[in-house]
């Protein structure tokens, strides 16, 4: 006799109040355990054992605690109910082999709520994460700007008014600092991780990433390479020293911290247009066109920088002289319209800069 589908249609059994022996005590247990865990998570300095050395570590840690508390509740609900069901609904000893469970297929109201509640939770988590993210984006920086450059296998740092790079990162306490993070152009990707600040950015050759921190705690901290970079990756570390303004000034003076004039000392007369043109193709054309200023790729077009009536000054606010163009190429640039790595990062020598300036000058004459 063929079965008819409607004979197989299910008798949906609606659970009444009795959900299982001890269901409500177990639910109460989940509530209590969750409440205790939320309390512990929210009041402990997560992650335990890692100090906060400055902003924005506190906002990130607040997010950690929030995620940890939410996660603990969800984990308790899933684990405790699962173990409880596993014990209570086990087939009793000597149950006939064909005994079956309650033939229930779904419970739309229940399913609605276990879709709706996680959705609300996810929305809350998203909003909170976006808020912290926005705080991070709007963190003050720029009082001090430092360039961090990764190489196999170490870090070096360039300060705006120092001619030679330093091997340690010194920061004065309480100063909003912007760190431009990159790697040497012929090197590999490194990571710049300062765990005590909960911040990290990859050091990608040819790309500048930005971290903004405000150190608040004097001390010595680790800089860790977090992106695999070769055989000595595990040992690639740097040192970040947060010190008082006086100590910082003293250290800075020892490093020879006076303005060396950037590109001012670069002899430009030896530059040739043809060498500059070749170099431009290799080093600059990824980001810069030779069209007018408005013809942007990543940075502005450089075809008319010396005689552009719409832009009587260069991006650093100085008059468009060859010396000033050389200075921008040498020092790099960071401002409203973007960021350009320094000559050192780009692998440009002083004669290279002279060649480039000669080429740029020749473009503007046409």
């Amino acid at each position: 006799m063929p079965f008819r589908e409607d004979q197989l249609a299910q008798r949906v059994v609606k659970p009444k109040t009795n959900l299982g022996p001890g269901f409500w005590p177990i639910t109460a247990l989940i509530v209590v355990v969750s409440a205790v865990m939320v309390y512990l998570v929210e009041t402990s300095p997560l992650p335990i054992g890692l100090v906060q050395a400055g902003g924005p570590a506190d906002s990130v840690d607040a997010l950690f605690r929030f995620l940890g508390a939410t996660g603990a509740v969800i984990f308790n609900v899933v684990t405790i109910y699962t173990i409880y069901f596993a014990i209570v609904f086990r087939a009793p000893k000597g149950a006939p082999p064909n005994s079956i469970g309650v033939q229930i297929h779904d419970a739309p109201v229940l399913e609605f709520w276990w879709t709706a509640i996680p959705t609300i939770l996810v929305v809350i988590l998203s909003i909170y994460s976006v808020k912290i993210w926005a705080d991070l984006q709007n963190t003050a920086g720029d009082v001090l700007t430092v360039e961090a450059i990764g190489y196999q296998f170490g870090f070096q740092f360039r300060y705006p008014k120092l001619t030679t790079p330093t091997s340690e990162l010194h920061l004065p306490v309480g100063t909003p600092t912007t760190i431009h993070v990159t790697s040497r152009s012929t090197d590999v990707i490194h990571g710049f991780w300062i765990p005590e600040f909960r911040q990290k950015a990859d050091m990608v050759p040819g790309l500048v990433n930005t971290i903004r921190i405000t150190p608040t705690r004097i001390g010595t901290y680790r800089i860790i390479c977090s992106e695999f970079c070769g055989v000595a990756h595990g040992g690639m570390k740097g040192t970040l020293i947060v010190q008082s303004q006086q100590d910082f000034d003293k250290w800075f003076a020892q490093q020879g911290g006076q303005h060396a004039g950037g590109g001012g000392g670069i002899p430009l007369s030896a530059g040739t247009v043809s060498a500059g043109q070749a170099l431009f193709g290799q080093k600059c054309s990824v980001c810069h066109s030779v069209g007018p200023f408005s013809q942007k790729i990543v940075g502005p077009g450089l075809g008319q920088i010396f005689n552009d009536p719409a832009h009587p000054k260069l991006v650093d606010g100085a008059a468009p002289t060859p010396q000033d163009a050389a200075k921008i190429i040498h020092d790099g640039y960071s401002g409203d319209i973007g960021t350009m790595p320094s000559a050192q990062v780009n692998g440009l020598s002083n004669p290279d800069i002279a060649n480039l300036v000669a080429y740029l000058a020749s473009l503007s004459k046409k």
């Binding site: 009795n18 684990t79 596993a86 087939a91 297929h105 399913e111 996680p118 695999f228 054309s285």
Partner: protein
């Protein structure tokens, strides 16, 4: 033909379905270059099982090395090769082939009541590419294996040992194998279901394969393009990725993760399918919320294509672009949560048989949930700034891949072994296997979360001395886990020879593969059955007609409900 049953649509092709091809007689056509999906499934299982042993041993070298802050056994250069090969092997040569290649091939055609996949010869090609790629991958050890992790980010992978190019070819080849399987399974599920098996009557493992197969097809293309470019750049200096020559290193990351994030779901959706089947069978209840589970599988598959950049929050992208990737990633938690809750509700009110397979499926609920929750920490951009590239990521990915995919696979092995081999596995050894794996796994990977948060980066051969204690704890537990997995292999080998005969349906399950003898005959079904309903209604007559069932495969209509509570 047209009167199979009310509600069963038939077409003129159904008479053709009952035609049975003769079984090949030569050993080579039967067992080596077989086109039988069941043999191919078992071939995948054996091959991937061997790779699993190798990759597991590599993992133990990693954990042993990390007993000491200065590296206990091998040089940093060797260590880098070992962890790279561990990751590569586990992802492309163990988990994906086991889920789709082995269980997809063996179980899916049986569950839809087909005689084979749509393109059996293509299936043979898919399989045979796989061991060739494996041999190629492992022979790279002879000339210097790849050493930049399974992600092989350029420019470091451009400097890598010569074996990195072989890695490109090997992964490219498994990519082709995956793509072909994706085509094959998509067509099989769309065109070859038994009459009456509508989409909402498919077993949930078939739904999982149905969602996974197009992902294999679409995502793998991006990976293979990226791999080809990496190979060309390494061998011929054509600049795609090297910034020194005008390439973009971040381009690789986009291409790689456009594949590898969907691949994460390629590695978990079939395991979700296992869990649905196994929880239902051993709770002796219908899967709770069948449609919600099926549709959430598809929802996850679709969403998985829009989240890849959450692997790249620190790589350098326009800041606002981080937000959509973060939010979509978080929203994947909703369909995943629906599944977890539905599985818990499947346990509720059951008459649960605590077999090894059931233990693993329930253990999966706990470990996978934990892994999913740490996923939130990584999805939230500001928190990810701290965690990216640390041991926290290692811990998270092992919770979802081992605590998820591997736990699911262990459950599936215990569940379908009797169908594959006609013999039962030892439940006693199985219990030891489960509890030791569960303890060993959690003991290994919980401390790693902490190490990551405290500042230990991943992929390091040496580390700061203050991390040693928790590393020693993790390594010690990992030996327990390895021992437990060894028990499983012993169990398999012993059971193959002397396991109890299983009969067609040892678990009292209701999906089609249990209606035929174990191991199934060459032609699977003497007559292709017609399907009247979902398979999960325990206590009702079986929803199949025209089925030439193996003796003892069907169960008598049950009369008992062992549920201790019911007041309804």
């Amino acid at each position: 033909m047209a009167t199979l049953a009310p509600g069963v649509k038939t077409g003129p092709y159904h008479a053709v379905l009952d035609h049975i091809h003769p079984e090949p007689t030569s050993f080579i056509r039967k067992y080596i270059f077989s086109i039988d999906h069941k043999i191919i499934g078992i071939q995948y299982m054996i091959t991937a099982g061997l790779f699993f042993i190798i990759a597991g041993l590599l993992a133990e070298i990693i954990r042993t090395q990390l007993l000491s802050p200065t590296g206990a056994v091998v040089s940093a250069a060797t260590f880098n090769q070992i962890y790279s090969m561990h990751g590569t092997t586990m992802v492309w040569f163990v988990v994906i082939p086991l889920l789709t290649g082995a269980f997809g091939n063996f179980v899916m055609p049986l569950q839809i009541g087909a005689r084979d996949v749509a393109f059996p010869w293509l299936n043979l090609v898919s399989y045979w590419i796989f061991p060739v790629a494996g041999v190629l991958l492992f022979s790279s050890f002879l000339i210097g294996a790849p050493d930049a992790g399974w992600t092989e980010y350029p420019p470091i992978s451009l400097q890598g040992p010569p074996g990195t190019s072989m890695w490109c070819i090997a992964v490219f080849l498994v990519g082709i194998s995956s793509t072909l399987t994706g085509i094959n399974f998509t067509v099989t599920i769309l065109k070859m279901r038994a009459p009456g098996m509508t989409f909402t009557r498919m077993p949930l493992f078939v739904w999982a394969q149905f969602a996974t197969s197009p992902m294999l097809l679409i995502a793998t293309t991006a990976l293979n393009g990226a791999l080809a470019a990496l190979f060309l750049e390494r061998q011929f200096g054509i600049p795609f990725y090297n910034p020194a020559h005008g390439g973009s290193p971040v381009l690789w990351q986009h291409m790689f993760w456009f594949y590898s994030h969907p691949a994460v779901y390629i590695m978990i959706l079939p395991a979700f399918g296992f869990i649905s089947e196994i929880l239902s069978t051993f709770s002796r209840k219908p899967v709770f919320g069948y449609k919600m589970i099926a549709f959430s599988t598809v929802a996850i598959a679709l969403l998985s294509f829009a989240v890849w950049a959450h692997h790249m929050f620190t790589s350098g992208m326009v800041p606002w672009l981080q937000l959509p990737f973060m939010i979509i990633t978080m929203f994947i938690a909703i369909p995943t949560g629906i599944k977890i809750f539905s599985w818990m509700a499947t346990l509720w009110g059951g008459s649960i048989r605590w077999t090894t397979a059931m233990l693993f499926a329930t253990g999966f609920l706990i470990t996978f949930t934990f892994g999913g929750l740490t996923g939130f920490f990584l999805a939230a951009v500001p928190a990810d700034y701290h965690e990216h590239g640390s041991y926290f990521v290692v811990a998270h990915l092992h919770y979802v891949l081992f605590g998820g995919s591997m736990m699911g696979l262990f459950a599936a092995i215990y569940y379908w072994f009797p169908k594959m081999c006609g013999r039962m596995m030892s439940e006693k050894l199985g219990l030891w296997h489960f509890w030791l794996v569960f303890i060993g796994f959690n003991g290994t990977f919980i401390p790693l979360h902490w190490l990551g948060l405290l500042g230990m980066p991943r992929r390091v051969a040496i580390y700061d001395p203050q991390y040693q204690f928790w590393n020693v704890v993790a390594s010690s537990f990992s030996y327990i886990m390895t021992f437990a997995i060894l028990l499983m292999f012993i169990n398999i080998l012993v059971s193959l020879r002397s396991g109890k005969k299983s009969g067609p349906n040892p678990w009292g399950a209701r999906t089609l593969e249990w209606m035929i003898s174990s191991p199934p005959p060459y032609y699977n079904f003497k007559k292709i059955p017609a399907v009247l309903a979902t398979p999960y209604d325990f206590g009702n007559p079986l929803p199949y007609i025209g089925l030439d069932a193996a003796p003892g495969a069907t169960e008598a209509t049950p009369t008992h409900t062992s549920h201790p509570v019911p007041t309804y």
